[in-house]
Subunit: 398 residues, 2 copies
């Protein structure tokens, strides 16, 4: 069996017309002789409607019930896509996360896949059926319905591709690939043809929303090539695999707005407790250490929660300082000489009158905090000065 | 534990405002010290939307996928009602058919409940939670999602009430009880205060849509009293239990439009095969025997299917005759002297110029086929002449 996993996101299945178009993409691979497993998201309108209904009944609905509610969205799509496939005369079967054997931990709203029992899927495939699986959802050992959080359907697709040892996992989305930067902010950003898992992980971690880090890690586990491509046109997309075909060490420039910073001064001893507590609350935090001081970089929406947690440990530090309304810009890639890159970023910022709040080397490259008003300019000038602008790329090829 | 099962139908949970009102009904029983299990249907708009989407993708969607699709409707409602309950500060938990332990056979679209594992529900109740169960759905031994067909949520509620040995099962609906006839056709129809299971079964079998025969049978199994009441006002409703408090043997007049009749002449030997085949296709058929002839009375929508089946056995009879565009009117109750009742019906029809096609005694009482144009008049005059009109009832009480 050569298995292809395809994933269609919320806009790709956003209407029955779109679903009909996706049928074409599925049949194309089937006709090539592949066994096809399709993972789908909820139609984007469905999710909006459900969230609105919940809001009318509760100001803070429990996460368990939100998962119960939202997981119906994918179940609707698998049934509809399967009907559309059957209407074309092919055999197909829809499977919920549970039926597809997707087992998760019990963190409602942000569950992690712990294992996949592929028995049912393999049986259906060997019976000649196209298998349509509900993304974004799984089931705990105790039979509770969970959802996987942001990028959940990508994660389902990559994890299934890995468990099934698929030859490829195609992520159909509303953009035609992974870009060197967000094209809405950096007009000269260009589509990247190939990336290694590590490069893609760095881009994803720093806010390239097109793929969730968890999805990439699942694909890397069994070396399944990922392709990010458009559901609207037939371009090649971006291939993410074990190797890179790029010479440059810098792959992109990412930025995140609405960042807040909490600096903990003279932090002695309590550090690990604070970090453990933040982790158990599933709050994504970037942590930079400056000697005895600890700088927590968090999204604005999480800031109050982080502050509440940190204040519980006020015996463990002298004082805290907060700063809100910032943005983060990151130069992403393998950085051989962090000193050199740091100097280059500092010089570029100086030349363009961008005042930086701080700059540090991170696991993904080099990041800087800037004022919110400067972030788009910062992204554009760094993109240019690190040779990523579309024209530069062209010139290098010629 | 004294358990009350409540069931809210599609109109009772048709909007978030309605759901909020149902919260009041749940809390009322909880405050009396009962353990409460609530069974809900899909919001009626939800079902309409899903059916429309399916129709846009397939002219004849498979029943398995329709069940996969439609069962999401109840899952949405259980989550929403549970959120609304939690918002009032009470502990509640939603359970899908699967989580509630509802096991069915594998007849998609019209599955029968084969067993209920009440373990999870009992655990949740003893933890003090209100349990909100998705009606209309279950799961096969193989883990497939099934729906129970027409009146499915009533069936879920009654079956759960029976399995849990509930003290009562309240069916909240958009009418305030069971009537002696359809009030839209027979304006002098009156609400019935009490009925036995047998009387209710007879009414339900003959088209009183308010309760499905399967639901009544489940309640009868463990003698759980059923109450049919309004979700809009606080009237007493109709109590259905092991005994009747009525003197009259005739409890109501029912009618069904769009009836077709297939008469099989000189049927010898093939009879049981034909009936077995019809049964395996899950087509409801009323069968009347006149000597060697077999009369099949079916709904118009099933007629072509029935005819196809019967024609396969054309060795077993001399010829068939069909008649369409008929209606059926039934006098329902224990009939001591069928001859007397038959004569009365015949006389009433004669006096009111209603020509009958045929008349026969059935398991529910006495039925007659009439022309479609006469059926409403027939229902009204029989209702009056069997002493069921509202005024007559009053007089009897005074």
């Amino acid at each position: 069996m050569s298995i292809i996993v395809q994933k269609f996101g919320g806009t790709s299945v956003g209407s029955t017309d779109r679903i009909k178009r996706m049928v074409f993409n599925v049949l194309k691979e089937k006709e090539k002789g592949h066994d096809v497993v399709v993972v789908v998201s909820a139609m984007n309108k469905t999710t909006d409607t459900l969230v609105k209904l919940a809001g009318e009944l509760s100001t803070e609905p429990s996460k368990r019930e939100m998962d119960m509610l939202l997981s119906t969205g994918e179940q609707v799509t698998i049934a509809l896509l399967t009907m559309a496939l059957e209407h074309q005369g092919v055999e197909a079967v829809s499977l919920t996360g549970r039926q597809a054997g997707i087992r998760t931990d019990g963190v409602f709203g942000n569950a992690k896949i712990t294992s996949i029992d592929t028995h049912r899927i393999k049986t259906e495939l060997s019976d000649g059926r196209i298998v349509v699986v509900a993304g974004f959802q799984g089931i705990t050992k105790g039979g509770e319905v969970t959802t996987l959080g942001r990028g959940g359907s990508d994660t389902t697709a990559a994890a299934l591709a890995s468990a099934l040892k698929a030859v490829r996992c195609d992520i159909y989305t509303d953009v035609d690939g992974v870009y060197t930067s967000d094209p809405r902010v950096v007009p000269l950003a260009s589509k990247i043809d190939t990336l290694s898992y590590e490069e893609m992980l760095r881009l994803a971690t720093m806010g390239a929303g097109v793929l969730h880090p968890r999805a990439i890690k699942h694909a890397r586990e069994h070396h399944v090539p990922l392709v990010v491509c458009s559901s609207l046109n037939e371009g090649r997309g971006t291939l993410i695999s074990g190797k890179t075909h790029r010479n440059a060490s810098i792959v992109g420039v990412a930025h995140q707005e609405d960042i807040s910073v909490l600096t903990i001064f003279d932090c002695q001893g309590g550090e690990s407790l604070i970090l453990y507590d933040l982790d158990s609350h599933h709050i994504e935090t970037e942590i930079v250490k400056y000697g005895e001081n600890l700088v927590l970089i968090v999204k604005e929406q999480d800031f109050q929660a982080v502050k509440r947690i940190v204040e519980q440990y006020n015996q463990a530090y002298s004082h805290i300082e907060q700063r809100e309304d910032l943005s983060k810009v990151s130069v992403i890639g393998r950085i051989n000489s962090s000193h050199e890159v740091k100097e280059k970023v500092t010089n570029v910022f100086h030349d363009y009158h961008i005042s930086k709040v701080s700059i540090w080397e991170s696991s993904v490259g080099l990041s800087a905090l800037v004022e919110k008003r400067d972030v788009e300019k910062a992204a554009r000038v760094l993109h240019m000065h690190f040779g990523l602008d579309y024209i530069e790329t062209k010139r290098a090829v010629l």
